[in-house]
Amino acid sequence: MSNNRKVKDVIVKTAADLFTPIALVLGFYIILHGHLSPGGGFQGGVLVASAVILIYLGYGYSEVSKRFNMEFIKKNEALGAILFTVFGLAGILYGSVFFTNVFVGIGNVGDLISSGTIMFMNDSVGYKVLTGVGFLILLMIGLLAPDNEN
């Protein structure tokens, strides 16, 4: 973390280019297959959000602040919580109580779409964690912004 670094390090930039897609794909895989394989919404969301750190290490704060809209991310965090509650309320509409699993009979056991609303609740938790932790990291990086090179 050298203070006034004008030229970006080639090795760090190449490593960030290489590992950002891997972190994104692995994170989204863990979110989508949360009901089938180890991991779930939280783990995948944190993995996706850690891609922001990689982009910051490779390209600096100027590029990160150009790519991400903080207000949009803040609003989308609330959207994740609302979606989770809506999928919980679907149990009252179709079944009996809050969080009842509906649409159960679709698909074979082990398929991606076989678990009713569990998968969508997992996805909404993943969306909330992704945006929340991403916003936290952007906020922490923004603290360092004025004494960066730009």
Binding site: M1, S50, L144, D147
Partner: protein, 83 residues
Amino acid sequence: MNSIVILNTLVIIGILISAFLTVKFDNLLSSIIALSITGSFVALEFMLLHAPDVAIAEAAVGAVLSPVIFIITLKKVKEGKEE
């Protein structure tokens, strides 16, 4: 002795050494790096104890997220001291 037991013992010794170094280092940056190594070893131990779910969470949070936040905080605190 079983090979799994030996591997577990080695990982636990690694956890103990890195956790001891975390407390013992005078330089705070070295301490944060040792904390990150502790998180990696704990994630490996969770993996050996057949808890991959917790291992992913520990590897993401304990080895990546909290050291980064600590390093940013440390840098900010040092800048405040210089002024």
